[in-house]
Symmetry: none
Subunit: 415 residues, 2 copies
């Protein structure tokens, strides 16, 4: 099994406030390709430490992958240092210099002189195209070591890894996927210890699998990993445990692996040819923002009203002042009228409304912080849910949005 060492460069990653998500991504991809990750390191932008990181990588591993430090400034030393450790020289590659000049010309900007270093590579390297920025990466095989140098911005790095680096790795190192198989089953509704209880029998007797629970902002992700003596056997034991987990969790399962509540709900709306409109108070547009995160969402999402101020509830979607005065802005009645109001204005098939108290201010004894009403309204069905969250403002808001999506999912699945 090939062994990989992952390097991230960037002073900001050393401060303890910014997560090194690039190395997380690279680690997951490598493991999936059957490569063992034996270590990862973060260093700043000082040459001594960058050099030590690459030296350690070549000492411990077969594959060394770095992200960051490919920018045009003098702080950006990763490629130069990696090449020094590998004993190869950089030179200007004419083709890359032309591409770089074209990139700036297209944007009608003058190329700063320092950018030319982004066109410098060793002759021995394969240059990895950057479709989202100016800094290409590189792939170099020398002395039985594979070096892959990627840019720092996550979307540039991910695209380059998937489109350029991974296919090269698979081809050059003749990788086959790992024998181990895993699947994530995603659940919304019960809490972590509740899920643990529901799965107690399986956890006690996992029959060659391992189970791990990850709590993720109101969701629980159940990761099942099976490693048989061959891929086929892994498949079989994974399939059996998977079936038992799904049985135990019932309709709390909303999806698998890369599914998100948004992707599942959008898929259901599109399959059924239904259009959704939203009305949001305490979540301030968070639900509609998420509904439009995915491309193509216009096929099933009409839009909505962000009725943060009380007058907005009346002026945008005709909630009666009387209702707000009598029952309050955070009430079953107001939620119901918000949903009815936006559905009427939009002429949509379905409407969802959220009103609540996100906190930290605005709570009272009868209506505490974390109280949220979610109204679901379709042509044949109307229901208002009263929920109570115990988080801070940010947590209460995301829990309200996810709960609304889960309510949508359950209704659309006809439950």
């Amino acid at each position: 099994m090939k062994r990989a060492f992952i390097i991230a460069t960037g002073t900001e990653l050393l401060l303890g406030n910014t997560a090194d998500t690039n190395s997380d991504f690279i680690a997951r991809q490598l493991i999936q390709a059957g490569i063992k990750v034996i270590g990862r390191i973060i260093v700043g932008d000082q040459q001594e430490e960058i050099m030590a990181a690459f030296s350690l990588g070549t000492q411990l591993a077969d594959i060394i992958i770095s992200s960051g430090g490919l920018g045009p400034t003098r702080d950006d030393l990763t490629k130069e240092t990696a090449c020094e450790v590998m004993g190869v020289e950089l030179e200007i590659i004419e083709e890359e210099a032309v591409k770089l000049k074209e990139y700036f010309a297209r944007r009608q900007r003058k190329m700063p002189a320092s950018n030319i270093k982004q066109a410098m590579f060793p002759r021995e390297a394969i240059i990895l195209a950057n479709r989202c920025g100016t800094a290409p990466g590189m792939y170099l095989y020398k002395d039985e070591k594979t070096l892959i140098v990627l840019p720092g911005p996550p979307h540039e790095m991910e695209r380059m890894f998937l489109d350029e680096a991974e296919p090269l790795l698979r081809e050059k190192l003749k990788l086959t996927d790992s024998r181990a198989l895993s699947q994530v089953i995603k659940v919304f509704g019960p809490g972590e210890s509740q899920v643990e209880e529901m799965l107690a029998e399986i956890i006690d007797d996992p029959r060659g699998c391992s189970l791990a629970l990850l709590a993720e902002k109101g969701e629980i992700h159940i990761r099942i990993t099976a490693e048989g003596t061959a891929r086929q056997e892994s498949q079989k034991i994974l399939g059996e445990i998977r079936k038992r987990v799904i049985m135990a969790m019932g309709d709390n399962v909303y999806g698998y692996d890369d599914d998100t509540l948004i992707s599942v709900v959008t898929g259901l709306l599109q399959d059924k040819g239904l259009i959704l409109a939203t009305a949001e108070s305490c979540t301030g547009g968070y639900l509609s923002k998420m509904m439009t995160d995915l491309p193509g969402s216009s096929a099933s999402f009409w839009g909505g009203a962000v009725t943060y101020d009380n007058t907005a509830k009346n002026k945008l979607i005709n909630v009666k002042d009387d209702t707000i005065n009598t029952y309050g802005a955070v009430s079953e009645e107001t939620a119901r009228e918000m949903a009815a109001g936006i559905k009427e204005v939009a002429g949509s098939d379905i409407a969802v409304a959220i009103t609540g108290i996100a906190g930290p201010e605005g709570g009272s004894d009868t209506k505490p912080v974390g109280l949220v009403y979610i109204a679901y309204l379709s042509d044949g069905e109307e229901k208002v849910y009263q929920l109570r969250f115990n988080s801070h403002r940010k947590g209460n808001r995301i829990l309200a949005v996810k709960s609304a999506l889960d309510i949508l999912r359950r209704h659309l699945q006809g439950r």
Copy 2:
């Protein structure tokens, strides 16, 4: 300034699914104590890699701090390996063996034989008490290197660091809080290489300061760090460079340190007693979501319309169908009517509207992906901005939202 290297051991930390929060915590604490973190590494439970990590630490840094691998099993090799690298021998420390036996006796459990290794330490070490578990840590100073070994469970590690390790560090290394001072100046508008050119003179002659640029989704953060011989001197040199940076960046500076575009815009609105309403198409409520992220936003934010579908532009905020048919949904004219429409409905002081093509679909030759119009409208002023972003959907959306906030900021600051 003392230099620290942080080590985490644990196979699960290499998979890309579990964050190394221990090292985050340790990094933040060290920085606060005036210690520079120069690198961090994660390795699994193999002795070769653990040894390489400690060797690298002693090579690069004055202080090496590890967490994890202090358990009773044969996988737990951190302390043994660290001691081998430092050239010290482990022996059973009678006092610790007694404590360990008492710990198990109190819980009426028989101590597994393997647990005795948790009572083994070098004579030269200071043993760090573990108030929450069985594995003590250690503090060792030898050959001008300080080694601190902490347990892996976060609550054990944090308690031990704060109660035991940090006071020792401060006492033995005579740390005072850092003499170094730093400030972040936050800029929106110019790109990274453009900022570097604008600051070229200062970067060439930073007079005792160091400057670092961090590009963060359309923003550039300029971190100035000054380290004089005393705090007062640091303050003086920081103040001078700060003034020059602000002068060079002009009205592109939107804030400092913990400021965000949202906090700055919300502050300006509240200071002036103005109310904002929004109309969003391609950003789908992202701007209103951000406007309501902060508590107390209801004082200056009314709400808005998410007019994702074209009919929503008409039905919610009275954009004329004629306008959309003649100029298109993504046009200066539609942006202007969206702002006018929401301002009229809301009766707000200010309105901002966003319409554009986020991608990846929907672009054309004349209206490419990334084209965005942002309209600003107040009682005395109206302006529509045409912008062009070169990112993917997610990037184009956040850039549109941040640009809208920056446009608001500049208008509110009377520029």
